[in-house]
Subunit: 306 residues, 2 copies
Amino acid sequence: MALLVVGSVAFDSVKTPYGEAAEVLGGSATYCAVAASYFTDVRVVAVVGEDFGEEPMRLLRSRHIDVSAIEVAKGKTFRWSGVYSDDLNDRTTLATHLNVFESFQPRLRPEDASIPNLFLGNIDPDLQSQVLRRLRPSLSACDTMNFWIEGKSDSLKRLLAEVDGLVINDSEARLLAGELNTVVAARRLLSLGLRFLVIKRGEYGAALFAEGRYFAVPAYPVERPVDPTGAGDSFAGGFMGHLANIGDASGRGLREAMIYGSVLASFCVEDFSLRRIGSLSRGEIDRRARELREFLSVDGPFAGRP
Amino acid sequence: MALLVVGSVAFDSVKTPYGEAAEVLGGSATYCAVAASYFTDVRVVAVVGEDFGEEPMRLLRSRHIDVSAIEVAKGKTFRWSGVYSDDLNDRTTLATHLNVFESFQPRLRPEDASIPNLFLGNIDPDLQSQVLRRLRPSLSACDTMNFWIEGKSDSLKRLLAEVDGLVINDSEARLLAGELNTVVAARRLLSLGLRFLVIKRGEYGAALFAEGRYFAVPAYPVERPVDPTGAGDSFAGGFMGHLANIGDASGRGLREAMIYGSVLASFCVEDFSLRRIGSLSRGEIDRRARELREFLSVDGPFAGRP
């Protein structure tokens, strides 16, 4: 079953200890859609500028992503640039130029309401709510960031009462809950009306809170991470893509989805932009998913690398 | 089978956002021995000052720990004081007074060589090597810290070529390996001659590297952590205690031991000093171990709290 992804499409300029890349394709919707495209049909609702060009569109189309709802608006495409710390755990934003993304209004068709799965990337929570109410999908999840937590907390809380799941960074979860302890923060966020909560912890993996229960998945151990940009969005894409594919967001489905989220994030960080994650085989993905399950297994054969 | 623990016994003064405790029993050997005492017979080799008193000895004896090799030397007991950050992830040392610990020389009896399991807490690596060579146990592991990594790197590397396992903090593993990536750092440390390597990641759990393989265990989610002091040593104690008990340090034994390490660390942080970890029942421990296994299970029933 298909997945609709709403979010940003951007050009990123990134510097890490392993190199740099200028004006490369990025954005939350881009990473999420590409990651999800290995599991299900994906339609992207986003906006780019007149400078976007055909090449990035071709890349998205090569992943069979429906780009017909990527609006080309007058002006320039969203641009972000940043630099990462030596251990890749911290980043400093050098510049954010929202450009056409500043006045982004998701354009939906009536038939989009028949797409059963929705991921609301990190945009204004009022827009996220609007889309959610228009589409009323069977399964929905969203992401958000500090900017909205601090600036539009009420809108965000209204959204969380309606969306099924929240997929969010560790530090943002704590900020949103106003609580430093992750377990207490998770309980507080769930009490806002969420059915499930995924807390992403970068190189430490991710935790799932749902149905009063807990599940933790480690990051797939990557030996040569090059650029963490988009890893969280790739996690969300692998996670939602798997759920859309199996049509089962029960406890077990969610846990399997955590594995795939972790796997897609691991491929994302192995190169800049979509260079690695844009050209995977399903076999490569399933191999890492199998390994990750083995890394979690207490009793099974002691297997896997490194 | 019994476990011999060599390390520090100290009085700690700790301040955390949840309260403070002055001049309470601490030290690497103390936490490790108490955690291990739920699994096996434990003998502690350490030094304290004339001010140590009977009460802490009684506490250790109440855990059936053999304290006859805790030497009472002329002078004062090792004292440490520190304060933790709001999220408990960082700490600042306010004072370290080594006192009698400064000239600690582990006193071993000939019959200690019949104790099959050895944990070398964080002391001078030359002393760790001396003890290891005197006892030649069936299974040995050690911890270390920045001070020795920076000051006695060659001694430490000689030790790692002889000891079976290293149980070490994330940041110290990176420092010791001279490598920021955990996977590469792990491979480098193993190549020094270790049979297994445990990397402790605080609230994110711990990772095991052994036999060319990988296993990750999350921290047991604690809702009211009060004081992280000793959590890493308690992990080591639960880990080594279980291995000593089952007498099996194969892949599966090591993975089970990771679960128990994580469980004992979770009890440790729930109160200051040994207030919580010093009075557990084996039932409480096994309940958390069962829950933690469930948190790792992709396919089993979706169980456990929170």
